[in-house]
């Protein structure tokens, strides 16, 4: 059987639903709630929760938790609005915690 070479994917650790492409990784040096986290330009097959204002290490942000669309596990959050000018680059991007995602076939 020929090996199918496709885009490198990350999946939900709980149900293996595809949630992100490796191509969309912007940074691997982020800190999530409990573990390391990656910053992604885009995430898919996720449900975006209600907006909340959180005082993070880097300042005041409006974020929304993101859930796997199949099993509803919280996988990370999306930055909706950043109060500090230096943090604006994060707006519209997604944090997925390393402990909540697995590499899919690579």
């Amino acid at each position: 059987m020929a090996e199918l070479v496709g885009p490198r994917l990350y999946s939900c650790y709980n149900c293996r639903n595809h949630v992100a492409l490796h191509d969309d990784v912007i940074s691997k040096a982020f800190q999530g709630k409990s573990s390391r986290a990656f910053l992604f330009a885009h995430a898919m097959n996720i449900v975006i929760g209600p907006k909340e204002d959180r005082q993070l290490v880097t300042g005041l942000h409006t974020v929304a938790d993101i859930y796997c669309c199949d099993c509803r596990e919280v996988l990370g959050w999306k930055y909706e609005r950043a109060f500090e000018v230096s943090q604006k680059y994060k707006e519209g991007k997604y944090i997925l915690e390393k402990s909540k995602i697995v590499k899919e076939n690579w």
């Binding site: 885009p7 898919m44 209600p50 907006k51 909340e52 204002d53 005041l60 604006k88």
Partner: protein
């Protein structure tokens, strides 16, 4: 063999042969529903051809082969929507070779290519050469596009009225110059996220394009007072919507110039413009008191009660107001409603993260805003559901209140 006499009573007329194409088109024009028009096309090949040539608008997500057949069938198309969803898809989507087919639809006026991430400058050049009647083009999030391709559109489509380039971050002042030279009828320009555009480019644009009524430079952080001043001067009577989200170099001077020149301003977005202060907002509220409908000024720490109060008392047609994260604002701001006296037409108020607003302020708000449809008081420590219930506040029947975040977010009401 006996000859059969064909009397005039027996002579059968085939109505399809008698009716001319023009008569059939007249009949088709009187059909109201799409379903009837589709059924019309099922009668015979001739009726199919007539219906197809009359079809003005098409919206589809099709493979290249199918697109070729559809373009051949609907040759007189005026509007075409090929927009895709924002999610990543593994199918190539719309490509430049598809645009070669689209370019053959010479009557096309409206083309939507939003999120067609595969299109490049090559495709734009084909469109520019083939579609002289093009009036509206949306290439938002077609991130590969640069000045080279879009300039070809400007040069080829002189009737261009609406151009949306949200997220096309390679666009520079060069394109604005090309638009200025070639598309003087331009009315709508969306440059959200086109981060390299500067005040100079904007000035060159409005020098010749004087009919702009919608200008979106959200997140174009190089835009400042210099550019906005030029826009206010050159497009004074036409400007209705101006979006300057996170343009931190835009300050009081811009607001004063808008107040002086743009009396028809309806929608203003200055969220994140942290140096704008009360005095200029007050002058704008007074000058555009009849026209202002939607104002978004979240994250403006220098805005306080005096300007918000002025907006609420003077802007009679105000429908939506966003003052989130404006930490100086308190209940005093709502006194403007009392001074105005008349019932306000306010439908949407976003006041999240306003630490100094309390239940008393909300009570005043509800007294004068009977048409309120959405209130956002997320992260306001002194406004809670329990507090409002305790005070006996009566919200209008259709009003949705966001106390602690809900899935039903109404983002787009104050853009």
């Amino acid at each position: 063999m006996a000859e059969t006499n064909i009397s005039s009573d027996d002579y059968t007329v085939c109505i399809n042969e008698t009716l001319t194409d023009d008569e059939l088109r007249a009949i088709l024009a009187r059909l109201q529903s799409e379903k009837d028009k589709d059924v019309f096309a099922l009668v015979c090949k001739r009726w199919l051809q007539l219906q197809s040539s009359e079809r003005k608008k098409l919206c589809m997500r099709a493979s290249p082969l199918y697109l070729r057949r559809l373009a051949a069938r609907f040759s007189r198309l005026i509007e075409l929507d090929l927009s895709q969803s924002a999610s990543r898809s593994f199918y190539p989507g719309v490509t430049d070779s598809d645009l070669a087919i689209v370019a053959s639809l010479g009557y096309l006026r409206v083309l939507n290519l939003q999120n067609c991430k595969g299109v490049t400058d090559g495709g734009m050049i084909l469109l520019g050469n083939g579609l002289p009647s093009l009036q509206a083009l949306d290439v938002s999030y077609c991130r590969k596009l640069t000045d080279r391709g879009l300039t070809a559109i400007a040069k080829g489509c002189h009737s261009l009225k609406s151009l949306h380039l949200t997220g096309c971050k390679f666009v520079t002042d060069g394109l604005l110059e090309a638009l200025s030279k070639n598309c003087s009828h331009l009315e709508e320009l969306g440059l959200q996220g086109c981060i390299t555009v500067t005040n100079s480019g904007l000035s060159v644009l409005v020098d010749k394009c004087r009919h702009i009524r919608f200008l979106d430079v959200n997140k174009c952080s190089k835009i400042g007072d210099v550019g906005v001043l030029q826009v206010a001067l050159c497009c004074s009577s036409s400007l209705k919507t101006l979006k300057l989200l996170d343009c931190y170099e835009v300050g009081d001077e811009s607001m004063f110039s808008l107040a002086k020149s743009c009396k028809n301003l309806e929608t203003l977005v200055i969220g994140g413009c942290r140096y704008i202060s009360d005095e200029s907002i007050i002058s704008l509220a007074l000058a555009c008191n009849c026209s202002l409908k939607k104002v978004r000024m979240d994250c403006c720490p220098n805005i306080s009660d005096s300007s918000v109060s002025c907006i609420l008392s003077h802007c009679k047609n105000l429908e939506a107001l966003d003052i989130g994260c404006c930490h100086e604002i308190s209940d005093v701001a709502f006194r403007g409603l009392e001074r105005g006296g008349v019932e306000s037409s306010l439908k949407v108020l976003k006041a999240n993260n306003c630490n100094r607003i309390t239940v008393s302020g909300i009570a005043v708000l509800l007294e004068f805003c009977k048409s309120l449809e959405y209130l956002d008081v997320r992260s306001c420590p002194n406004v809670s559901k329990a507090g409002c219930d305790q005070a006996g506040l009566q919200f209008p029947e259709c009003c949705k209140v966001n106390f602690a975040g809900s899935l039903l977010e109404m983002d787009t009401l104050v853009d």
